[in-house]
């Protein structure tokens, strides 16, 4: 008896960085046969996430995800990375989930499988034709991870492999608080000494007070590190982290960042985080719009004197990023340093502009550190496909901006 025809699935690379593209190819299928390509991920929080696409094999019995079109599933069309960015919690999961890797020393594991026919549900009850396991890493080999607990600063430092010295980055997330390492690990994998900071924690800080000295100290920890080029340290913030970035860049007499990246940020200081319920999702965007008229509530961005890149989504439901970017441009132009500002604004893109190929969440559970005492469902915004495109495009532009301003030996220019 001869063995059954077995389709052959190959996914390259089997162990890649999270921002590397995958090449998914299925061979030895019957010609013209409908198949479903499926990816499954079991998160650290024990939830299951999946994505799938419906394909038809060609006359040679082959499907190539980067060249063929998906005709249904969680993504359609020619989408080489659809099996990752279109992932969503499996039916029956808890609500309001967000996928974030907390332990960056281990990879994210994805089961990529081929099912016969165009399947849309019940994947767990069927046996696939074939499947492979793929690792996605936030940390390249040789990147060192060092716990930092000095001078009152709590964070994690990631150092690229090699002798250095390297440019540095202070990396700050938003109002959710906690120590989120994955973006720093990824930045170190691209050659930047990166400090992920835990700065918004109810144990250390009072409500929305942001200790200025804390950030200056953190910046200097990077700057004084033996493997860091002292005049090549930048700042990278998302959401509240953007506010911190702009504030420090404008007001600090000690800290002089070489460049700044502000993702989904606003430039005004909120007094309190108050919430307006809408569709059971808390929308914070609109409450802040009126603050735009009050200059005393805003960061004096006219004083920023380094290149600054703003990355925003037009459908940001958390922060009025678009309107803020406009206002920042006005203020900087008026101060004569508008040439330092670059802005990218993505349509149908929400607040959480993360490294590429990570799933999109239009809304998720949120517990504001030290402020709200309960978990709410917060609306971030964005439509999955355009938001994912924005993440991919923004990351490339961010890396290029950093390369130009922190690595290049020519004097930095603001425009990309």
């Amino acid at each position: 008896m001869s063995p059954p025809t077995s389709p052959i699935l190959s996914v390259q690379p089997t162990r890649g960085l999270v921002d590397e593209k995958l090449k998914v190819v299925v061979e030895s299928l019957p010609p013209g046969s409908p198949v479903t390509l499926h990816s499954l991920h079991h998160s650290e929080d024990e939830d299951y996430w999946e994505a799938f696409g419906h394909y038809v094999s060609d006359f040679r019995g082959m499907v190539s995800v980067s060249e063929d079109l998906s005709f249904g599933g969680t993504y359609t069309g020619k989408e080489d990375m659809g099996l990752l960015w279109s992932m969503r919690p499996v039916p029956g999961s808890r609500k309001g989930l967000r996928l974030r890797k907390m332990n960056v020393c281990s990879p994210m594991l994805h089961n990529i499988s081929v099912y016969s026919g165009h399947v849309s549900e019940g994947f767990r009850e069927q046996t696939p034709l074939t499947s492979v396991l793929v690792e996605r890493w936030y940390m390249a080999p040789g990147v060192k991870r060092i716990d930092i607990m000095e001078k009152g600063v709590r964070g994690t430092l990631f150092i690229p492999p090699g002798p250095g010295p390297f440019p540095g980055l202070l990396d700050m997330w938003g109002g959710g608080g906690g120590l989120i390492e994955y973006r720093s690990a990824l930045l170190a994998s691209h050659g930047y000494v990166s400090l992920a900071m835990d700065y918004f924690n109810s144990q250390e800080l009072e409500s929305a007070d942001l200790e200025f000295k804390y950030f200056e100290t953190a910046f200097n920890i990077i700057k004084e590190h033996p493997q860091v080029i002292p005049d090549r340290v930048g700042m990278f913030g998302l959401s509240l982290g953007s506010l911190v970035t702009m504030h420090v860049a404008a007001e600090s007499t000690i800290v002089k960042p070489r460049c700044c990246i502000c993702v989904s940020g606003s430039h005004f200081y909120p007094n309190t985080f108050f919430c307006i319920a809408e569709n059971n999702h808390h929308v914070w965007r609109d409450m802040w719009i009126h603050l735009l008229d009050d200059p005393s509530k805003k960061v004096d961005v006219g004083k920023i004197n380094c290149p600054i890149l703003l990355v925003n989504g037009k459908d940001d439901q958390n922060v009025p990023a678009d309107e803020c970017a406009e206002d920042i441009a006005l203020l900087m132009n008026a101060a004569g340093n508008g040439h330092l500002l670059s802005r990218v604004l993505y349509p149908d893109t929400g607040h959480l502009i993360e490294p590429p190929y990570s799933p999109h969440f239009r809304a998720s559970n949120f517990k504001a550190a030290g402020v709200a005492t309960k978990t709410v469902m917060l609306l971030w915004g964005g439509q999955t496909k355009p938001h994912s495109d924005a993440q991919e495009d923004a990351w490339r532009k961010i890396l290029s901006f950093l390369q130009h301003n922190l690595y290049s030996s020519t004097p930095p220019r603001a425009k990309l």
């Binding site: 001869s2 063995p3 059954p4 025809t5 077995s6 089997t14 074939t130 492979v132 396991l133 090699g162």
Partner: protein
């Protein structure tokens, strides 16, 4: 070059790859026409350091691409995409006779790739490179399961590919050095073949009883594969290197139990007492031990011990009775076994018997005995512990490094195609997924 202003970038893709995957090494943003050395350093499980290096000159835009640019000198020269791995050799001052073999396949080989200023040939450890990255080389793809097998008195490890299966199976045998060597089986499982690495010389049962195994030992291993729920029982092959080929040929031709779908013999021969098991085979090899020669460097040359090819049919496997496809891989500079002479005799026997259509011989000029998975260092000679005498001596395997490495690369690719063609049905060689090799 001013270190503070050094903007040279080094990129190796993939940073985590399988041992048989090629990588791309790019140096960018060096000064135009800059002379540099790309260096690889690996510290093996035994604690020894291995290095390789190539001399390059950056082009007008300051780029060096190791897959396209020629190395002007070093441990390899010319355009050699993988030269930094296959030309690895022990660092100066190392003890002689070393051989690089990965025993723990669950963790990767780590290689540090660095760029040094100028065309250097020594003293790398005393300098600070301009840039360096770490690359992982794995013998096991993600999702491959490693299952130790101890039932039926076996000492073996089964590697299962990820996925539901069922998969074709393979028995994987190494040579006279013994031990349970897993890396080739784990790599084959990474290519979709359920592979069983079998220790048949230093197995627990041998250590305990003091007796060599009989042929049933191999048949038991075959049955483990055949009966495994994730293995397709009628799709089992066998692969042997060196002494492993003696067993492979014997079982392929004479075993009533083993129904092999195909067989691969690397650096082996068909000369053995037809009616013997392992013990008799080893005795047969030792009877002409006086034909051992010594090279100028005091290395043992054993190839003559098995020559000439006998005409007495009691001492060679009856190849005319072989019923499955056979791939024979031979290094023409094999100083350990007369693999070439044996291959020629096997071909003659099969032509006379009318089954030579089953035979494919891959014969590589200037390749030696140890034809291993690609991009791993070549050992022309190394320390070998004889199981009979318990002595360690330096044995000459043969092969000229660059030619041997090319042979390893070509043989591996052809071996995978051969296995997939014969173990899977309905697959065309043209559609076999080898694009990453």
């Amino acid at each position: 070059m001013d270190r503070k202003r050094c903007t040279l970038k080094l990129l190796v893709q993939p940073s985590r790859g399988l041992v048989d995957e090629m990588f791309i090494i790019l140096v960018q943003k060096a000064p135009s026409g800059f002379q540099l050395t790309v260096h690889a350093l690996h510290k093996c499980e035994d604690g020894h350091s291995w290095e390789a290096f190539g001399h390059y000159t950056a082009d007008t835009i300051g780029t060096v691409n190791v897959s396209e640019d020629p190395s002007l000198g070093g441990t390899y020269s010319g355009v050699e995409q993988m030269g930094l791995l296959w030309s690895l050799r022990p660092v100066p001052g190392s003890k002689p006779g070393l051989r690089l073999r990965k025993m723990n396949v669950q963790i990767p080989m780590e290689v540090t790739i660095s760029v040094y200023q100028g065309h250097q040939t020594e003293g790398f450890m005393d300098q600070v490179p301009l840039a360096s990255v770490v690359v992982e080389r794995w013998y096991m793809a993600p999702g491959v399961s490693r299952i130790p097998i101890t039932e039926d008195g076996l000492t073996a490890t089964l590697f299962l590919p990820p996925g539901p299966g069922p998969f074709p199976g393979l028995l994987d045998l190494w040579g006279g050095g013994g031990q349970l060597v897993e890396y080739r089986a784990s790599l084959l499982a990474s290519h979709g073949i359920a592979s069983l690495a079998l220790d048949y010389l230093t197995a627990k049962i041998i250590m305990e009883t003091g007796k060599m195994v009989d042929l049933q030992y191999f048949e038991k291993a075959y049955k483990i594969l055949e009966q495994h729920p994730q293995v397709h029982g009628s799709s089992i092959g066998m692969l042997g290197l060196s002494l492993g080929t003696s067993i492979t040929l014997k079982m392929a031709v004479y075993s009533e139990v083993m129904k092999l779908r195909c067989a691969v013999c690397i650096s082996g021969c068909h000369m053995q007492p037809v009616d013997g098991s392992v013990e008799e085979i080893l005795k047969y090899f030792n009877q002409n031990a006086d034909r051992t020669r010594i090279s100028e460097e005091n290395e043992l040359i054993w190839r003559d011990v098995l020559l000439p090819v006998p005409s007495d049919l009691a001492f060679k496997v009856d190849m005319g009775r072989l019923k499955c496809p056979l791939l024979v891989v031979v290094g023409e500079d094999d100083q350990n076994w007369p693999a070439s002479e044996s291959a020629m005799d096997m071909e003659e026997m099969m032509e006379q018997a009318g089954n030579s259509h089953l035979l494919t011989v891959l014969s590589y000029p200037k390749a030696g005995h140890l034809i291993e998975p690609p991009y791993t260092p070549h050992a022309r000679a190394s320390l070998f512990k004889s199981l009979a005498t318990r002595e360690k001596m330096i044995v000459l395997w043969g092969g000229e490094t660059a030619a041997h490495s090319r042979a390893q690369e070509d043989a591996w690719r052809k071996l995978l195609v051969f296995l997939k063609e014969n173990l899977y049905s309905g697959s065309n060689p043209g559609t076999t997924s080898l694009s990453h090799l």
